[in-house]
């Protein structure tokens, strides 16, 4: 009996020692902490996608754009009003969620992949607005026949060059070390994870799953698909916004060119490979791809020597830029064909097999 109780809490204790105690005592190398912090930040955004794709069955191609909304909202609030990071981060999430609703409203009425199309539009329109808000102001002026004349201009958003962002401050001390970044990200990841888990367990969560599995049947059961899909999409963008705020304040600078369609696709791929519709899916997927990217960066000098020798027409400089999308695309394809339910599903199968094993005596 006590052995079973023990087996339930030892993973948690181990995780606490590994992820909190060791970093807090400064016993882990900075490089590792930086990697973990980057995994955590991306994982928050991918958790949002998980609520949308994994639990509701809708595709968003604009997650990076919503991360961008969060990053810029938090940065601008901190720069213009001096608002504390701890307030601007939730506000950034809220702003991203509202912008998300704006794009979700027209497309979630119709079924199929129309949300993918609307979010593709978001992925172009949002950076366009942030790079040159004055153009949007002109447009608003035209559309309201000159009644409204907004005075937005690119001093607010930094235009094409981007913004410098102040580091978060906690009880008078500036959090600008990698360790502080790691611990903050870890705290937000834990909250985001628990929230995701609770949403999935509520009535809303079950409604989302019902919509994913069969929208018609869900409707017959009295679930209003439009409302619930909107809720899921709002949460998805909200998670993106929070990830964006973390990214902006700890990287200390943001540039409008960092939030690309490729990044949105990458997040989708991370989710699918990790296991969409599994709570742990985002963590698995993001960890796998971040580790692979880290390895690619490490072996690039070797690849630069080897690849052009094997294929004489390849230029050395192209080796650097080509391997990341190449490996990403290949991994995602292999998973889609051989393990479409993702790593989390595979792990669960292994665990089940382990539990069902014949005890050897």
């Amino acid at each position: 009996m006590s052995a079973q109780r023990l087996s339930e809490w030892w993973p948690l204790a181990l995780a606490f020692v590994g992820f909190v105690l060791l970093p807090a005592l400064d016993l882990l190398p900075t490089e590792l902490l930086r990697l973990l912090a980057s995994i955590g930040t991306t994982a928050i955004s991918v958790m949002g996608l998980n609520l949308l794709l994994g639990y509701t069955g809708q595709v968003s191609l604009g997650q990076a754009a919503f991360v961008m909304v969060g990053a810029y909202t938090s940065a601008i609030l901190a720069r213009e009003t001096g608002l504390s990071f701890w307030l601007s981060m939730p506000l950034a999430g809220l702003a991203a969620g509202l912008v998300g609703l704006l794009f979700g409203l027209p497309s979630l009425r119709v079924r199929g992949f129309y949300l993918a199309m609307a979010t593709l539009a978001a992925q172009f329109i949002i950076p366009w607005v942030i790079k040159a808000p004055e153009k949007l102001a002109t447009l608003v002026g035209w559309l309201t026949l000159g009644l409204v004349h907004p005075t937005w201009d690119s001093t607010l958003t930094g235009g094409a060059t981007g913004l410098q962002v102040p580091a978060p401050v906690l009880f008078g001390s500036t959090l600008d070390s990698t360790r502080a970044e790691y611990l903050t990200v870890l705290a937000v990841v834990v909250v985001a994870f628990l929230f995701q888990r609770n949403v999935v367990r509520t009535r809303t969560g079950r409604a989302l799953v019902a919509i994913r599995d069969n929208e018609r049947a869900a409707e017959v059961l009295g679930i209003h698909p439009y409302t619930y899909k909107l809720q899921a999409f709002f949460l998805c963008a909200l998670y993106a916004g929070i990830a964006g705020a973390l990214q902006a304040h700890f990287r200390r600078s943001i540039s409008p060119d960092a939030f690309t369609l490729a990044s949105s696709i990458e997040q989708l791929g991370m989710l699918v490979v990790g296991g969409a519709g599994y709570l742990a899916g985002p963590l698995f997927g993001v960890s796998l791809f971040r580790l692979m990217q880290d390895i690619i960066v490490r072996v690039t000098p070797t690849l630069r020597e080897i690849v052009p020798r094997l294929l004489p027409f390849v230029a050395q400089t192209d080796v650097d830029t080509s391997f990341r999308p190449l490996i990403f695309g290949l991994t995602l394809m292999l998973f889609l064909i051989y393990q479409p339910l993702g790593m989390a599903h595979g792990v669960r199968q292994l665990a089940a097999r382990w539990r069902a094993r014949v005890p050897s005596r």
Binding site: P106, F113, A118, L120, W128, T138, D318, G329, M333
Partner: protein, 327 residues
């Protein structure tokens, strides 16, 4: 005679933009046709079409250069054969294992394909734009000023006399006229092919229900492979027509394909005439907005605003069928 001015711009400029827009739009129509074809045959929306365009034009450039820039027709023929092979390969290796999987999986697969193809193309051809000399008249064409071999387009702009009634002459780059003619010809060819051949019908049957189609003896796999091959051909054609003027640019061509998505949705997902009209409308919108405001607004904002409006007002598109569901 009074100056003709609308929206603060002289009329001849507006007319010029309108005509250029139609011609640019013809390229979008060609891209949209390739997208609609895959939707019709397999219900898959192919996000990787832009990379098929890029691959086709890169094949063409490489073969053309390998042949000493002498024989364009041979280069085009070899490119076409290669693209057919690529189309069948994609269907066999990538899409066939997913037959019967949900829509989301197939969308993810075409997205994965974009990344894989981007990586491969970067590895083999690099990231900088490659000039494509196909419109140079013949070997030995020199730039009169520098004596260097011409890499750009030596075609003279076309001037339409309209000074008397629009207040200025309409000037149109001939490369646009050429791409318009090529696009229009190909669009016509494929529209006729689908209307008057059995293949179009078989493709619809396969899209509707692959298993049923197989049961009545249709060659499902071959038909799907054929659809991908034709889409790859159409993509290559659009890519070559586009880059004949400006060179093959790995950054702009996939973006161009993304701007054809609003065209497809505007026309109606499964409608060939819709794709053609949608492409032309998007082209006109893009060029007009580019003229009136600037090019980022025309290319990154306006087409996608159209997309949002379509979703808001008429999600099935101009010629699309409202989805009827039987439970």
């Amino acid at each position: 005679m009074a100056e003709c001015v609308v929206l603060g711009k002289p009329c001849f400029l507006l007319a010029q933009w309108l005509m250029t827009g139609v011609m640019v739009g013809s390229i979008y129509s060609l891209v949209a046709l390739g997208l609609v074809l895959i939707v019709k045959a397999s219900g898959i929306f192919n996000f990787a079409h832009g990379y098929l365009m890029l691959l086709g034009s890169l094949f063409c450039v490489t073969i053309f250069q390998a042949l000493g820039e002498q024989n364009l027709w041979l280069a085009l023929l070899v490119t076409a054969l290669l693209m057919v092979a690529v189309g069948f390969l994609i269907e066999r290796a990538v899409m066939r294992p997913l037959l019967g999987q949900p829509l989301l999986t197939t969308i993810m697969m075409t997205l994965a394909l974009t990344q894989l193809m981007q990586g491969l193309i970067t590895l083999f051809w690099g990231v900088s734009a490659i000039p494509l000399n196909i419109f140079v008249y013949g070997p030995g064409d020199m730039d009169p000023a520098t004596g260097a071999a011409l890499t750009g387009l030596p075609l003279k702009p076309l001037i339409l006399e309209s000074k008397s009634w629009l207040g200025g002459n309409i000037i149109i780059k001939q490369q646009f006229v050429l791409s318009f003619l090529v696009s229009a010809g190909l669009v016509l060819l494929f529209t006729l092919f689908f209307r008057y051949s059995r293949t179009g019908l078989v493709m619809r049957a396969v899209a509707e229900n692959p298993r049923l189609a197989q049961a009545v003896g249709l060659r499902v796999y071959f038909t799907l492979g054929l659809a991908w091959a034709i889409a790859a051909l159409l993509g290559a054609a659009a890519g070559i027509v586009q880059s004949g003027g400006s060179g093959v640019d790995g950054n702009t061509i996939p973006l161009l394909a993304l701007r054809a998505f609003p065209a497809v949705l505007l026309g109606g997902l499964e409608s060939i005439p819709g794709a053609i009209l949608g492409g032309i409308i998007i082209g006109v919108v893009e060029v007009m907005v580019t003229g009136l405001v600037d090019s980022t607004t025309g290319q990154e904002f306006a087409p996608f605003l159209v997309l949002i409006l379509v979703l808001l007002i008429r999600p099935q598109g101009l010629f699309g069928q409202r989805e009827v569901e039987r439970i």
